[in-house]
């Protein structure tokens, strides 16, 4: 019994031509689909549905049942009073949020930080993974791999406090060095211009090593013969990376990128909160910290749910459109 899967090829090429929705399927598949009735297909795939069941139940119970909580955004929810007894306030929380004079400043800060970090922190692990992939000495490779993923286990609180120790103008080792070379000190921690670079630097330090793992796993799928063939043809290392390694992890990169766009409005509350101070707050205030300062007294639940809903709607929009774009350019997307 021939299956459509036989069209699949390694590397994902050709896969993309298949539309995901059976109703919109084209070409040679159409004929076959129309022949098989729904019942037949269900019967054919019964074991697949059995496999699917626990997962679906999980999502229904732990993700969808609690989703009534989204309605808190339209109430003035107080924990003790409970959901039903809390008063309905309609769109008041949304109004408060949008009409806040700082709204655009917050949006700008949030997006800028996310975009910078997308531009720098997203490719970094890919580059390091590619570099690691080129290392032949396996002991060296393994040592480096283990070392660079340690920082992932240091909590943000500690990272921020280490940053202070290293970067403060009052005896921090880095500023001491800079002072010796240039005779000046740079106020990395209070100068608003340094806020975003510092946040991204910390994120890089903490997570770029750990982020390589997923790409290394993807690279491990590459057919070694391809390299050998390329080598025979005299292709340089750069060309091998460009034409063999990168394409093999392309779909992983794209999927991660699409998923990443979904949380462009998230900056990681704790991190930003710890790094912000009176002198850099103009650039440091983002949605996440705003919700905290406002929500802490405002009945955190309803207000933060409202802001959360807003972020979700934007997130869905971004994911769906980036997925659409990916498909349009012939990539596999998340579906």
């Amino acid at each position: 019994m021939p299956r459509r899967n036989s069209i699949h090829k390694l590397g994902g090429e050709g896969v993309n031509e298949i539309a995901t929705d059976p109703g919109r399927t084209t070409g040679l598949l159409k004929a076959r689909i129309s022949k098989s009735t729904t019942m037949k297909r269900l019967k054919r795939d019964k074991w697949l549905y059995v496999l699917l069941m626990p997962g679906i139940l999980y999502f229904l119970i732990f993700k969808y049942v609690p989703m009534w909580g989204a309605a808190l955004a339209f109430k003035n929810y107080q924990p003790f009073t409970g959901f039903w007894a809390s008063e309905w306030v309609g769109f008041e929380h949304f109004r408060n949020f949008f009409q806040n004079p700082d709204f655009f400043k917050l949006l700008r800060n949030t997006l800028l930080l996310s975009l910078y970090s997308l531009a720098i922190a997203f490719p970094a692990p890919i580059i390091i993974a590619l570099m690691l992939n080129e290392v032949r000495a396996s002991l060296y490779k393994r040592t480096i791999q283990t070392l660079i993923y340690i920082p992932h286990f240091i909590s943000m609180v500690i990272v921020v406090s280490l940053t202070y120790v290293l970067f403060t103008t009052q005896g921090g080792i880095i500023n001491e060095l800079i002072f010796q070379w240039t005779g000046q000190k740079i106020d990395f921690l209070a100068d608003p211009h340094w806020f975003r670079p510092m946040i991204i630097l910390q994120n890089l330090w903490k997570d770029c090593g750990f982020g390589t793992i997923i790409f290394l796993a993807a690279i491990s799928g590459v057919d070694l013969e391809q390299y050998e063939a390329a080598h025979m043809d005299g292709a340089s290392r750069w060309r091998q990376i460009w034409h063999i390694t990168l394409p093999s992890i392309r779909s992983t990169i794209i999927v991660l990128l699409i998923l990443r766009t979904g949380d462009l409005l998230d900056n990681g509350f704790e991190h930003i909160y710890l790094m912000s101070n009176a002198l850099n707050r103009d650039v440091a205030d983002v949605f996440d910290t705003y919700v905290y300062t406002m929500g802490i007294t405002m009945g955190a639940f309803s207000y933060s749910t409202a802001v959360g809903l807003f972020k979700s709607v934007i997130g869905i929009f971004l994911i769906v459109s980036s997925n659409y774009l990916a498909k349009k350019f012939g990539q596999s997307g998340i579906y």
Binding site: R3, K9, R41, G69, R136, Y140, I219, G221, I316
Partner: protein
């Protein structure tokens, strides 16, 4: 990998690459070295010196404290147990769900995928989730640390993507041999997916290891707490909740050296997982086995 005929640029490429990676690793390591040095330093030295990687005086006070504390010891076992069982549950749930979803012709596949993606962005929030866990009777059980996070939508989608890229021919052959899909998954797909399983097993394990919040919410019995709850407790306290005036007179802050020692103890076990998984990341594992 053939090593003959290496040109000058090739050698240069290797050297630059090795050097750069070494440099990156050093930068990653230095701050952590400070934590390790701090865990062996005396409290006085930590107050006095800003940054160091070799302590002047050698003191085991931090580790002595950990050894003397029953709860830290106990909590390490809890963490190891929850991490191990939890990751297995995660992998089981994720793989069984991802495999059918990797079939593009599965009826209803898109509905399910939409369900998954949607749940990634919309969440009911803390309290509603808590109430569900409570209604299921999971409070004060380790199940509460495992089941509510049994599948990460993010990981699910990536695993599904990996499965999608497996060569389909193999499955065809197995199908003709009379295997059910479950059989195919177990006998063919999983053995081919070791790097994927290792990767996501690690991701899940790290997630469990680092998770303190679920324990805090769902476990009222302090004797059940995993290590991270205690670790965070020490770190947050010694990091200064604000100032002494916000603190109570009755509260004695943990010493810095204890904080450093606890971080080291809290990091080592999960770090040791990686080398074990590393062989599965070796190049060509997947293709090699396909051909073999």
């Amino acid at each position: 990998m053939p090593r003959k005929n290496r040109s000058v640029t090739e050698i240069l490429f290797d050297w630059v690459n090795y050097l750069l990676l070494g440099l990156i690793a050093c930068l990653m390591l230095l701050p952590f070295m400070y934590v390790i040095a701090g865990s062996f330093a005396s409290e006085a030295e930590l107050t006095e010196r800003a940054f160091f990687i070799i302590p002047r005086s050698f003191s085991l006070d931090g580790y002595k404290y950990i050894l003397s504390s029953n709860s830290i010891f106990h909590s390490i076992f809890v963490s190891v147990g929850v991490t191990f069982v939890g990751s297995l549950v995660n992998l089981l749930f994720t793989v069984t769900m991802a495999y059918p979803l990797a079939r593009r012709d599965l009826l209803g596949r898109n509905t399910v995928l939409n369900l998954v993606v949607f749940s990634m962005l919309f969440s009911g929030g803390l309290i509603p989730t808590y109430l569900v866990v409570k209604a299921l009777g999971l409070l004060d059980s380790y199940g509460a640390l495992i089941l509510p996070g049994a599948i990460s939508a993010f990981n699910l989608i990536i695993v599904k993507n990996f499965f999608q890229e497996l060569p389909a021919g193999l499955e065809e052959a197995a199908k003709i041999d009379g295997c059910t899909e479950i059989g195919i998954l177990w006998k063919i797909v999983l053995p081919l997916s070791k790097p994927v399983l290792a990767t996501f097993g690690l991701f899940y394990a790290v997630g469990h290891w680092n998770n303190f919040f679920s324990a805090l919410l769902y476990l009222n019995e302090s004797s059940m707490w995993p290590l991270q709850v205690i670790l965070r407790q020490i770190v947050m306290l010694s990091q200064g909740v604000g100032s002494a005036s916000q603190l109570d007179t009755t509260v004695q802050l943990p010493e810095q050296t204890i904080k450093m020692a606890v971080i080291v103890v809290g990091t080592l076990p999960i770090m040791m997982v990686y080398p074990f998984l590393q062989k599965h990341f070796a190049k060509g594992v997947l293709i090699g086995s396909v051909k073999g």
